[in-house]
Symmetry: C2
Subunit: 443 residues, 2 copies
């Protein structure tokens, strides 16, 4: 199942919220998040321009009431939770119904526009709220779905053997640490850890010297995903995706190098993973679906449980992802962040559907709210490499900042800013928002 393009995507509809048009969050987007108006009062909201529609306030004002009492009540309950998990569990029909209703409520001429008191009750300026994690992340899985990233990194860690034989057969992934998933804007403390010593020297323990970011696209599982352990048919997988966010999978390369054999990355990753606060729904992405990666001649065709003929037409996502850096010196001098890379999710070797179908294929219980990261999004060109390890080629090609500073890896005070968006001719651009985090010195 995909989502059809419907009236909620219509480029001609306009919101009465004036800041919406041309912003990251026009009325065609309607991403979900969780915010606090007052401390401890978590609420589900939808971003529209510079404002947030408070869904709990909408529900209590009866704005979701329609002609199906049972379903209306379910929606009111789902929208009144302090996290998105229960809403994520409801599945595509309910998600669509809420989206259609929210779209109506935010259009020019709606009952909210016409009632100043109601408007003040249900709409809040975004700069007056504090964002929270959108849901409780039960489990976090990180994939490795960019063949460019895997080849680049593989050639550094295993020069003789960059791309392992399994790479083109399975979307390689590993279990991450759910407890270290944090919200954009939170500072990231440089981790301590054990690193390989010099020649014939013992390893050392101390602050990571090779701190890196990884630009990823994340997705949240939704619906009753794989509770019976039956697996997910590849053709059904997209219906089990609630939405996407930006992910910075911070990485300590020196800790990683020493620890990762034979059981994979562990403490090199589990100190922090930042995510953007607004979850752009799978339905909002409908106009931006693009053909899945076109495997070059000679690459194997995926096994049947990972192959969907339809995905050749629209299995991918046409999202552009950008990484910027603002050093402490740049900040002091009032400079703008400098772009480090820009690339497209279209170059990913594996689709989100393949990742999810693979993940569920062994009967693994997948729960609404589980987060999965795509792995670093790197494209074929140098400018599209999604981490410093690749961009500076392990530090051998340092990057010069406008202040004259150079970077092989991240320095204390550096802020990494990730942005993403989808655009195509004839359709309003929708933003994926921003994921930012600043590096603090090690403890």
């Amino acid at each position: 199942m995909g989502y059809e393009i419907n009236e909620t995507h219509d480029p001609s509809i306009q919101s009465f919220v004036e800041s919406a048009a041309g912003s990251d969050f026009p009325i065609q987007s309607l991403p979900f998040g969780v915010f606090e108006r007052e401390e401890g009062d978590n609420r589900i909201g939808v971003a529209i321009g510079d404002e947030v529609l408070d869904l709990e306030a909408c529900a209590s004002a009866g704005l979701f009431d329609g002609d199906n009492e049972q379903e209306d009540e379910l929606i009111a309950i789902a929208c009144s939770m302090g996290a998105l998990n229960f809403l994520m569990f409801q599945g595509p029909e309910i998600w669509s119904k809420i989206r259609r209703r929210v779209s109506e409520l935010l259009r020019a001429g709606s009952e909210i526009e016409q009632d100043a008191e109601l408007r003040a009750h249900v709409l809040v300026p975004r700069d007056q709220v504090r964002m929270l994690l959108p849901c409780e992340v039960g489990d976090f899985t990180d994939f490795y779905a960019s063949v460019h990233h895997a080849t680049n990194v593989g050639s550094m860690f295993r020069p003789d053997n960059p791309l392992l034989p399994n790479y083109k057969w399975i979307p390689v992934g590993y279990h991450g640490r759910a407890s270290s998933v944090m919200l954009s804007g939170e500072d990231v403390v440089r981790p301590n850890g054990q690193m390989i010593g010099g020649d014939d020297e013992p390893p050392t323990f101390g602050p990571c010297k090779l701190l890196d970011y990884e630009m990823e696209l994340g997705f949240f599982a939704g619906g009753p995903v794989n509770e019976d352990g039956e697996g997910i048919a590849i053709g059904d997988a997209w219906a089990h995706v609630f939405g996407v966010c930006l992910v910075n999978d911070w990485s300590a390369r020196d800790i990683q190098k020493w620890e990762y054999q034979p059981l994979g990355p562990f403490l090199s990753k589990s100190f922090a993973t930042s995510i953007s606060p607004w979850v752009v729904t799978a339905e909002a992405l409908a106009p931006f679906r693009v053909p899945a990666f076109d495997r070059p001649e000679g690459d194997p065709k995926p096994l049947p449980h990972l192959h969907d003929e339809d995905d050749q037409q629209h299995g991918g996502i046409g999202a552009t992802l950008e990484v910027l850096l603002l050093s402490a010196q740049m900040r002091e001098q009032g400079m703008e962040p400098m772009r480090l890379s820009i690339g497209s999710f279209e170059h990913m070797y594996w689709t989100i559907q393949q990742m999810l179908a693979h993940h569920a294929s062994n009967g693994c219980p997948i729960i609404a709210g589980d987060l999965m990261g795509s792995g670093t999004v790197s494209g074929p060109e140098k400018e599209s490499r999604g981490c410093l390890l690749e961009l500076t080629w392990r530090g051998s090609e340092p990057i010069e900042l406008p202040t004259g500073e150079v970077r092989k890896f991240l320095a204390d005070g550096d802020e990494v800013i990730m942005r993403g968006w989808c655009e195509r001719e004839g359709q309003p651009r929708i933003g994926l928002g921003e994921c930012r985090g600043r590096v603090l010195p090690a403890r």
Copy 2:
């Protein structure tokens, strides 16, 4: 901090529950678990012989009331939750206080013994309750702390390079899947997955052919563990352990072999991890602490953050772990399970304290209720190998069952039964209970 041996460990104290003495759960043990008397009514209990002390019923009967109103109220709340997480969060002082009180309540001559009505209210026969997972497992981490296991497995997967250079420097571990942690007694469906094909053949997808178990000891983090990200001093680590359980980390060896490079085990593990229902507290283990593994001459001394001189005296746990198998044929013929292995946790290269201090050393948030597995517990002798991969040496030395059946790996209908206990001269033996699971055919 360790726990001193105190009056709750005194071998001379007797419970009025007659089945307690000589059972897995004498009054010196007092393990915690969660059970249902009626569906949906989860309660925290303490096992004593063939019965369960219902802590919620005790709290509501005022049996925890003492001279510190605030603390008594906290204990009453913690004991009235449907899962152990909140109690696990309270830390060693509260745990000890509850243990002392429960010990008093279960002794011969206590107010419970003397009041038949009260007794009927707070004590339930174990065979009349259904056990549940003891807590919500936020994150599950699996270590690899037996050098015998690591060397055996390494020599099969990497004959030239069995024990990697990091092994004796860090307790190698990886993030597991919390959602697939299940309770002893639940059936385990043989997973499907992708496996390497024959020579020059493509990989195949289907039921795992090399299904295995792994005998592990698990431990639950407790207290405010690493919320500030400051790490845990090795000398404080044991105070952050609420208790231990038995873990069967079911493993699909053929799926593992194909998928595990370069990011570690993933779907070969995430279909099922079974745990025993009764959590034996760190305090109950006080009489059974033994010297940590004595590293052979030439092995490196751990770096300071992983070294505690005191652990040379009592850093280990003197627990015996046994694995038994009951095939479908054996069951039909009314046979007893056959012992496959028996070994001791004393041979583990890394202590639980080292695992926890390492895990927290990068600032990773660790939350009360997080589960960590030791990795397969294998000792130096063949009979102490904790998985079939090692016992049958990858299938080359099959095991014969009393029915004449042979096993290289697990067959459908096989039930794996793990048991554990601690014993030492002059001290009542305490059991770790049982962790069992039967293999169902693949879907």
